[in-house]
């Protein structure tokens, strides 16, 4: 089970977190037992907006997260 924490704060939402969340939820439909998504409040890593959005895949912290990076990290762990 891969645990993904995604910041659902307003800073991260401005710079693409909503899009990542949506993609992850689509992916979860394909792997319902292997991905757990938790939307969390601000993880306090986005003091500089360039570091947002912030996502945590298991213990790995990803700043300036992008769709394709988050998905590939998740897929690595599923395989």
């Amino acid at each position: 089970m891969v645990k993904v924490k995604i910041c659902a704060g307003s800073h991260c939402s401005l710079v693409g977190a909503l899009n990542i969340l949506e993609t992850l939820e689509e992916l979860q439909k394909e792997y319902p037992d292997q991905i757990q998504i938790e939307r969390v409040e601000c993880l306090d890593k986005c003091e500089d907006i360039k570091k947002a959005p912030v996502v945590k895949v298991d213990d790995e912290l990803i700043t300036s997260a992008q769709n394709q990076i988050v998905i590939s990290k998740v897929m690595e762990r599923i395989k």
Binding site: A8, S10, C12, L14, V15, L18, N19, E22, V40
Partner: protein, 501 residues
């Protein structure tokens, strides 16, 4: 709907960063020279990432800065610092002017206009039905593949349908494809040009352009300066606002955050929707079909502009009732005459509506959800960390559902049923092209007795270009928030005066 709607791309990122920079400078009361630094802060690489050179990338950001301030994007042909033009503007008119939606011409990559192309899927097959079915003999079989003579081609699509290998594609300019009223033309250099006589300022082309070459103007700076001067600024927020600032941010938190930003009051525009649906039900009951053959709703400005510019014969049958924005603004100003009202919504064309003679004294600023989210970042307000929650309860179920396609007509219909025992036939136009088609039908006389709802953005206001959320998600949030209203019908809303019900 444009394929790019709801996808976070670098274009979206740059647009939002420009908004955040402008908001930051306004909040700091920064000097004009500071504007010169924005293109360098946003394009801070050593080499170009997106275009032929970083100089061009920065020039485009500079154009966005100018438009973000409400100015024309045009960079003069003479040498002039960005800040010099800005100083002139801020010291003189300091007011957004038409045209609202503009192609930044040097950012346009001159995409080919509507055309059929043969891709390398072509196997140069023996049957080559593409050339046989072509009615104008435009397809020839050359050395390696079929070739379409663009001079002869009439874009009928027969070759595309006949090809067994799906080798022929129909290629459209994304901006022009998104424009349901045919307002996008080409200039002498083959760049996209918006014909302002046709444009209804809906903003769909802004979302659709994959090179980020189209932008609208904004009032972020003027709004924040007004708050800084200590003016009594009050917000009215459109019904599609729920969930736009992240899934953990409740409506109550959004209100609290707006107050933290300096707004004295926050009201739901849905309150105005309750006014509007009652008013339009009354108009329908009184006038249709005796005085007028059908009634078109009034809340979407682009829809009414389509009537103005494309089908003027039907304009008199589109309700003259004020939009929910105007009603909501009036209800705020009634009690606070010296206040300034900012409309916060998903909509680009509301900016234009607010400039009109009828409305400019009611609504002082219009900003989008996207622009507001950037303002929150600049003001360092993280909504999930705002402790306070402020109740917001201004509207009925049907008023709140105005933001979804079909919601406007449904609200009016419910009033008609409950108050006048009329259940009219309803026609819903969803999206720009559908709006125009529907108005043509109305003109032809086939919609007699109908209540006609027009929404220029597909899906309704939740599909507006100023949203952050994908359209379907926005729609779900709107429905959920509507369910929480203590009132079902507009006439049950305690916030309305008895005389309005």
């Amino acid at each position: 709907m444009s394929k790019l709607k709801g996808i976070y791309t670098d274009i979206v990122k740059i647009r939002r960063m420009v908004f955040a920079e402008l908001a930051g400078l306004a909040l700091k009361d920064a000097k004009c020279e500071e504007f010169d630094k924005i293109p360098y802060r946003i394009i801070d690489t050593e080499e170009a990432t997106y275009r032929s050179s970083i100089f061009k990338e920065r020039a485009i950001v500079a154009a966005r800065v100018r438009m973000g301030l409400g100015m024309d994007y045009e960079i003069n042909q003479e040498h002039k610092l960005l800040s010099e033009g800005i100083r002139d503007f801020l010291n003189n008119d300091n007011q957004l002017k038409e045209p609202l939606v503009n192609v930044i011409r040097f950012a346009c990559e001159k995409c080919p206009t509507n055309a059929h192309f043969v891709t390398n899927n072509c196997r140069k097959c023996l049957a080559h039905p593409c050339s046989i079915v072509c009615p104008v003999d435009a397809v020839s079989i050359e050395e390696h593949a079929a070739v379409i003579d663009q001079e002869k081609c009439i874009n009928c699509g027969k070759c595309k349908e006949a090809c067994p290998y799906e080798a022929i594609v129909n290629y459209e300019r994304p901006c022009a494809a998104a424009c349901g009223v045919g307002a996008i033309e080409s200039d002498d250099y083959n760049r996209a040009r918006i014909n302002q006589n046709k444009c209804v300022s809906c903003g769909q082309c802004i979302i659709a352009c994959p090179f980020g070459a189209i932008a609208d103007k904004s009032m972020i700076y003027q709004l924040l300066k007004s708050i800084n001067r200590g003016e009594d600024v009050r917000a009215i927020i459109a019904p599609s606002f729920v969930g736009q600032f992240g899934p953990l941010v409740s409506a109550e938190k959004i209100v609290a955050a707006l107050k933290k930003l300096g707004m004295k009051e926050v009201r739901e525009v849905s309150l105005g929707a309750d006014f509007a649906s009652l008013h339009e039900a009354e108009l329908f009951a009184e006038d249709v079909p005796e005085e007028q053959p059908y009634l078109g709703t009034s809340c979407c400005p682009s829809w009414t502009y389509i009537a103005d510019k494309h089908v003027p014969e039907v304009r008199e049958n589109i309700s003259e009732s004020s939009s929910p924005m105007i009603f909501a603004a009036q209800s705020v100003k009634e009690n606070n005459q010296d206040s300034k009202v900012v409309f916060i919504g998903p909509c680009v064309s509301k900016k234009l509506e607010a400039l009109s003679k009828k409305v400019k004294d009611e609504v002082d600023f219009v900003i989008t959800f996207e622009e507001l989210a950037a303002i929150f970042v600049a003001a360092d307000i993280e909504l999930t960390k705002v402790d306070a929650e402020e109740e917001i309860n201004d509207a009925s179920y049907y008023g709140r559902a105005y933001a979804n396609a079909g919601g406007v007509a449904e609200a009016i219909r419910q009033n008609l049923k409950e108050k006048y025992e009329i259940d009219p036939p309803i026609t819903k136009a969803d999206g720009l092209a559908d709006c125009k088609k529907t108005l043509m039908k109305a003109k032809a006389g086939v919609l007699e007795g109908h209540l006609i709802e027009g929404m220029a953005c597909e899906g309704g206001c939740v599909g507006g270009p100023g949203t952050l959320l994908a359209t379907n998600r926005g729609a779900k949030n709107v429905s959920k928030f509507a369910d929480q209203s203590p009132y079902k019908f507009a006439f049950e809303n305690d916030k309305l005066n008895e005389t309005d019900k």
